[in-house]
């Protein structure tokens, strides 16, 4: 545990700047490189590496949720600059797909948004359905997307039943066994995980990202 910063070999400017949360510098450099015709995928990949370090530092207790959020904002900003160019280039393969939602009766989305950015930064394809989502709509989305992960966020205890209902509906359609069901947010704990029938629960966005990454890599090895 506790890998020193030096071991990350922070020699490339973009990852270093992301880890140091220097938003203006990152945006300036990305714009300059895009302007010079640099490969958008390569830029995105470098930024992903920066995000990976941020995530690792968080796991090791060196970074906090605030830094995850700020790095996430930087990543979002970079993505908006480079994405038009990525579309023309070869799209790299994704680690997996995740459908995210805050279900009906709850309109809070801070935790879900942080989780979504971090997942995307790790190379997952994310389908964020937003807040106050009907469980039936989640099932429809799952039928179309065929995700590896379905993730529900909750700040209100009143959405526990909707999470359970969504899990049961997924079960009835036969889709439940094809995916991992994850829940998170301030109102959740192990009792809620059991009640809903979810595979994973956490208050910690990066713990969730770690779970997805481990599952995805395991699947690839298998």
């Amino acid at each position: 545990m506790g890998v020193a910063t030096g071991e990350y070999r922070l020699s490339e400017p973009l990852p270093t700047l992301i880890v140091e949360l220097r938003k203006d510098d990152v945006e300036r450099i990305v714009r300059e490189r895009i302007g010079k015709g640099d490969d958008a995928n390569k830029i995105l990949e470098e930024c992903r590496r920066g995000m990976e370090i941020v995530g690792r530092k968080y796991e090791e207790g060196e970074h906090f949720l605030a830094e995850l959020m700020l790095a996430g904002e930087i990543f979002k900003s970079i993505a908006s600059i480079v994405e038009p160019y990525v579309a023309r280039a070869k799209t790299p393969g994704t680690l997996g797909k995740a459908v995210l939602a805050t279900l009906k009766g709850d309109i809070h989305d801070l935790g879900k948004n942080i989780f979504a950015i971090m997942l995307k930064a790790q190379g997952f394809e994310t389908y964020d359905m937003g807040v106050d989502v009907d469980p039936a709509d989640v099932v429809e989305k799952v039928k179309t997307v065929r995700p590896d992960f379905v993730c529900f966020s909750a700040l209100m205890t009143t959405v526990f039943d909707n999470m359970k209902q969504a899990a049961q509906q997924l079960g009835r359609t036969g889709l439940r066994s094809e995916l991992s069901l994850m829940i998170g947010g301030g109102a959740t704990n192990a009792t809620v995980r059991e009640y809903v029938g979810a595979d994973f629960q956490s208050l910690d966005a990066m713990e969730g990202v770690g779970y997805c990454t481990k599952k995805a890599r395991g699947r690839r090895v298998a």
Partner: protein
């Protein structure tokens, strides 16, 4: 002991006759517990008070933190939050929800530093959020809140209960206030990229808050002031941020209040495990630390036992999903381990959830009343 004596003994870190028990009841669980919908209670604060009194009369407890529950009018003027409530923007059976967006702008920090939060709030900020109100409506709404609070006090007096916490039902820490009104991400960016502007605002808000809390306690003849904070803990921020933007202002508030004999009741949501040790620096007995079930309260007891009173922490999910026996077992554990030598008030983690099982609510109250751990 009376409820008041029992609570004050716990606050003074003494051993009461039994562990006091309180429950933070907001409109939705009150409606649920009396078998009605929240909507009507948002429309009429008389119904809200009636609901609280019915719940209390059915299963009396050492009511303490919110004997004057936040009414719709309190939400309108209280925290400056944009919200949607049942019976207004939502159907009667739904739950109030805060809509967090970037209402406060970066340039507003300077305005707050110059005008103070109250003036800024009533002359500018409040008219940017929904539900909309007009400036000329403020005195009428404030008057309604004052009348409601007086009525609450009178009703409690009939039951021999004295209101112990002395200010508006919604009182956010300056840091929390800025985070909510600026939005979490934007406020976090400001802490890292625009720190001096934030500090200027915090300085002014802290001084104003101290005056407001002291006045509130003087007018209501009470000695406990309540402050909510959900966003400053190590769950969100590293020590360098906490030590620069939260702790000094908090310490200033507590020490100034304590010099006038006023105890600060902290309502601390989210995990505070990384920050609990800071509270050890406060004068002995000067604060009550209320935890929401996500901080390890047993570890907090190790750190703060014999120094500050602890309060909590039956998790909302336990109250809504677990069974009566599980709630009883958890409460017994808290009473024996956190309350073993005084300085503890049994309560809900954050507030009673809207879908609380009535038998679980009663189990929490009754366990405090009936369970006496061996050796006490």
């Amino acid at each position: 002991m009376t409820s008041e004596e029992r609570i004050l003994a716990a606050v003074r870190l003494e051993q009461p006759d039994r562990v006091p028990v309180d429950a933070l009841l907001t409109i939705e669980p009150l409606a649920h517990l009396i078998g009605t919908l929240p909507g009507p209670l948002y429309r009429d604060f008389n119904l809200l008070l009636e609901a609280l009194l019915r719940v209390y009369d059915d299963c009396p407890f050492d009511i303490f933190e919110a004997p004057i529950p936040a009414s719709y009018e309190c939400y309108l003027l209280g925290g400056g939050l944009e919200f949607k409530s049942p019976g207004r923007e939502f159907p009667d059976n739904q739950v109030i929800q805060v809509v967090e967006r970037e209402v406060l702008k970066r340039e507003d920090y300077a305005k707050i530093a110059e005008m103070g939060w109250s003036r800024f709030f009533f002359e500018d900020y409040r008219y940017r959020v929904s539900p909309p109100i007009k400036q000329e409506d403020v005195p009428r709404i404030q008057n309604a809140i004052d009348q409601y609070a007086s009525k609450c006090v009178r009703e409690w007096e009939k039951r021999g209960v004295r209101v112990l916490v002395g200010q508006a039902p919604i009182c956010h820490h300056p840091f929390f206030k800025l985070s909510l009104s600026r939005s979490l991400v934007k406020f976090t960016e400001d802490l890292y990229y625009e720190p001096t502007s934030v500090e200027e605002a915090l300085r002014r808000m802290t001084s104003d808050m101290i005056v407001d809390l002291i006045n509130g306690c003087r007018v209501s003849k009470t000695q406990i002031a309540r402050i909510e904070e959900e966003r400053a803990s190590g769950y969100y921020y590293p020590p360098k941020i906490f030590e620069r933007f939260w702790w000094p202002y908090t310490e200033q508030i507590v020490r100034e209040l304590w010099s006038r004999g006023i105890v600060t009741l902290f309502h601390l949501d989210t995990p505070w495990d990384r920050n609990i040790n800071y509270f050890r620096r406060l004068p002995k007995g000067s604060a009550i630390i209320r935890l929401d079930g996500t901080t390890d309260i047993l570890a907090a007891k190790q750190t703060l036992g014999g120094h500050l009173c602890l309060m909590g922490d039956v998790h909302p999910a336990m109250l809504s999903l677990s069974n009566k026996a599980e709630v009883e077992a958890y409460c017994r554990k808290l009473i024996s381990q956190v309350g073993r030598d005084g300085g503890f008030i049994l309560s809900t983690g954050c507030c009673v959830p809207p879908n609380v099982k009535p038998e679980n609510f009663r189990a929490m109250i009754q366990t405090a009343k009936n369970y006496l751990p061996s050796g006490v």
